[in-house]
Amino acid sequence: MATVYEPRRVGLADALRTARRVADQHYGIWSWIATVDHKRIGIMYGVTAFLFFLAGGVEALLLRTQLIVPNAGVLNADQYNRILTMHGTTMVFLVVMPLSAAFFNLMIPLMIGARDVAFPRLNAFSYWVFLGGGIFMNISFFTKDIFSGQLGAPDCGWFCYSTLSSKAFSPGHGVDFWALGLQILGVASLASGFNFIVTILNMRAPGMTLFRMPLFVWMTLVTSFLLIFAMPVIAVALFELLFDRLFDANFFNPDKGGNPLLWQHMFWLFGHPEVYILILPAMGIVSEILPTFSRKPLFGYPFVVFSGIAIGFMSWGVWVHHMYTTGLGTVANSAFGISTILIGVPTGVKIFNWLATMWGGSLNLKAPMMFAVGFVAMFTIGGLSGVTHSVVPSDYQQQDTYYVVAHFHYVLFGGSIFALFGGVYYWFPKFTGKLLNDTVGQVHFWLMLIGFNLTFFPMHISGLLGMPRRIYTYSGENGWDLWNLMSTIGAFTIATSILIFIINVVFSLRRGEKSSEDPWDGRTLEWTIPSPPPHYNFEKIPTVHSRDAFWHEKYTEDAEGRPVPVVAGAANGHEEEGHEDHGGHGIHMPSPSYFPLLAALGFPIMATGFIYDFALVAVGAAVLFVGIYGWALEPPAEEEEGQA
């Protein structure tokens, strides 16, 4: 087999080996910092994103408190703009995307029957880059005198339209932090996009053909392709913005003929695939939960898969519906109006497939299922208001009103966040060995559902009554008071439900009911292994014979097509392959490594340098350089003597 590289310098090699041994023990802080285990990285992604969710949530509460009555004095206009920008940016880039990434990390190798992702160290690198980018972005708050109420955060909205983002209108460093922070987060997204495409295409267990893959794996694949093609577009837009701000270039400078609309085109050419980057993983999660809790296979599996792929392709051809009012002309508006109406079709197909999956099933309304059903209902409302935006004349009325805010919160909160919480309730026992308390989960669900609708449904009305987005206060004469009051009460209701969730997690981790391998009578491979899974996942790589592989091991069908448990030992289409019980010995797992963290550290240092002192850019580049070289030169897995 492979030869081991001879250690070049004994001192360094010894030090490395010791460091690895420390990290190889599966406890202690260092074992987490150097980990390349996809499950641990997934947990770190999830916990970090949840902390950012709390930050973004507090920002939302501040905004809602300011809007509770007309002319409230909680925040001034400047503070409101900055907190608004950070709320949007945080929720999109630091919450929904990394929460999805957490599920990619946790679930993909388990679902395809692999021991880890294709590039475990690249995976760790993604996480550390994301963490660095998130912290970097939030540090901007403190770059002014925060104690006298001066916030340094960006103030240009999460879309940061030119020329709002130019130095003339956004002096200070806020926008620089925003652009550089997103640039860093883009690196993390790209790396994880590459990693998961390769993992899904290349690391499948024997027999796991593409059309036997669980739906979540499919949606991850489509999302990853969207990521690797959409992130470079925003990267270029951000570079152009940074060149304008830092080096006086003219990309978006109208004085020199630059066209601010170029920013909008590039932002939305990225931004619309991004919308589907946020929702497709959620759709994948729901497509796992609904069949399990309906005890029926997913209705029309190929249709759901192809709808997901179709959405992926079409998401590149709808971006102008964000720009109807910019005056691109009737032809452009009509064309994009039609494509936007069309993209509703595959989305609708999915909704009907989910409904048909539940139809006639024996529904088990546990908390994960409640969140999944909640997703379908809320997402449908958001989808329908989305269709009203696709109609150009109607959109002219809705542009920049709270109606739009209502729409995208219905798809991103009512959609993505509900599904992600469903995923947490569904897979929590797999990774902790403890079930989340279901009664508390039901309370969480209902409170969140009520709070959510109380917050965002009135926004449809205030929007149609003409209330513009992004205003920090309003006059009492417009008839918006009641709707805003309702929204604010709703926001605090949501916050309460999140508190209940946190209590549930803490309580269940300590004293929760122990979970078996397969608490939900699941269908996919992750339920075949212990909870929590050993670090090598599968003692023996499974062989897959059908879609819903695990289900078919457990059940066969009677004449009426009802599931009948298989008699032990007589598995349907599954030969009992002699289990080698070696307790994981002899399984080579990738060694832990500190280099991904080191390399990732280079990015925030460089970014800080671009804002404050160019010398730091060189330092950051050097750190990145050393990290990458150490990474490239260290062998990925320490092979045991005699095995090599």
Binding site: R115, R121, L201, I228, F229, V233, A235, K256, A637
Partner: protein
Amino acid sequence: MTQAAATSHLETSTGLDNRKLLMWLFLGSECLFFGSLIAAYLLYRDRGTGPPCPSDCAFDGVQYEGLFDIPFTSVSAFVLLMSSVSMVLALAAIQRGNVRGMQIWLFTTATLGLLFISGQAFEFTEFNHEGLSLSTNLFGTTFFVLTGFHGAHVTIGVLILLSLFTVSLQGRIQQKDSLNVELAGLYWHFVDIVWIVIFTLIYLIQP
């Protein structure tokens, strides 16, 4: 023993090596990166602030007539194209187990790349002397950023090639490691192809 690590000798579901697949995906992603930069250049090209004009034109204090030294840049483009040839030869050498040959051709490729970079540095300085900078006008902005990002890619390529060369001097690249050279080659050829597009669009097809 199945190994989950990123090792090259694994059997994969598609039969493609993990790292090679990754490289192709990366290059696909890069197409969108350069595509966006080129789109910005093309969008601004016909806005009357860019070179070159049919005759005697100067904007913003820059004389565009004869600003481009086409023969010079053609030579420099030729150098970069030739570096792709030497890259192919380096890969062919190591695939036959000829380490020495690979070292020579890797070094040649890196040298040609450096030559190209030097040419670009010279051109940038010349333009600066003529008064054209990043902030002069839209042409300056889009030209320097587009070609600059390409130059940065070539520079990274040179670093990769020199790293491979150094590592190979320690005897750590043998026939079975030829994939390392192949991956560097894929990147290098891609950067080369991008230059063909940029060269054509900026220098050869002038408005």
